[in-house]
Amino acid sequence: MIPAAFAYRRAESVAEAIELLAEYGDEAKLLAGGHSLLPIMKFRLAAPSVVIDLGGVGGLDYIRADGDEIAIGALTRHVDLETSAELGAAVPLLRHAASVVGDCQIRHRGTIGGSVAHGDPAADLPSALMALRGTVVVEGPSGRREIPIDDFYLGFLETALGPDEVLVEVRVPRRGDRPWGFQKFRRRSIDWAIVGVAYQSEDGGGGIGLVNMGPTTLRAATAEAALRGAAAPDDVAQLADADADPIGDASATPEYRRHLARVLLARALAGGAST
């Protein structure tokens, strides 16, 4: 099982990747860790004529403090998030979310930029960014722009990234030792989440991100409003699915997903971190 034929271009810098995107347009796909793109290319669900490899782009692999925020380079791999003591101290929710992605081999390859740019509602890291109210930094021919995570996901596998833009950085606020929770529910430990919930406490309330509860990563806005209104955790949890529109599939009916979201939010609010 191999992908359809494509032409291969290796970008040495972000500027070169942007030029190549401009040159090949819709025919081209960026390649980071390849752990979302290559599987769909092998199934021929995607068949780009040109693949632009970001693997040789230096300087996009970092986790650094920047004022009140932590800035993470797009090519930082899941394993580097998972094992970063600095991230663990400043944003433990994101460190934990990275540790439950796939398996060790997948985490050695997959990048935060690829995970965020792919736009799969079943992905774990975007839900943490939602709970943390993170920002996505992209670069294109007309320069750099910052997109709040709430404006980034437009539809299933559809994001605000322009066709000639490269995701270069993800930014999240430091949350230090404030309470957080992350719950990923699946039947087998290697599976994607059937439903997941990320929770991060903040001044006067908290952020809540939902995995696989609709066509995109979602914010549980109604539950967040109840948190700000100081509702009891169990009452907040009952609102977990108020803004959601889950699908039914072989793993779960929409009703079961709604039930899971409520149960998992209750656990996340209590500070639970599932492995």
Partner: protein, 166 residues
Amino acid sequence: MTDVLAGHTVTVSLTVNGTAHEVEIEPRELLVTVLRERLRLTGTNIGCETTSCGACTVLLDGRSVKSCTVLAVQVHGRDITTIEGLAGPDGLHPVQEAFRRCHGLQCGFCTPGMVMAAVSLIDEGRATDEKSVRLALKGNLCRCTGYHNIVQSVLSAAEVMKEADA
């Protein structure tokens, strides 16, 4: 777009088990097929081809990856270790030795991938206890052993390697 595709091959240099190779390949060729079919290193198995079973696990710069989900062009200039490269002049690698000692295999199909994954996880310091080893090996499936002896093999190898380091 056919013009960019016509006769499009690339030259990839990679070091496999300490030997430098140069291969002229199509960009779409997977690392596992280049290892097996071009370099004739058939110790690395293909189970699922969908990143699920771990049979194709090799080390890329010392870390475990599933070679069915890596393009050979992506590892240009990098260092690959396969099961063929583990044993040294003095005999088997301590992880291979432990799989033999603890009966960590039956049919052996999963074993090359299991051993490579184990070498990486021990090196990363993940082999601290049974639970950690089970979690760290979740991407490697075995249809024979029921995993018990595999986990014992990895813990035993980790112990031996720690003593050798001390």
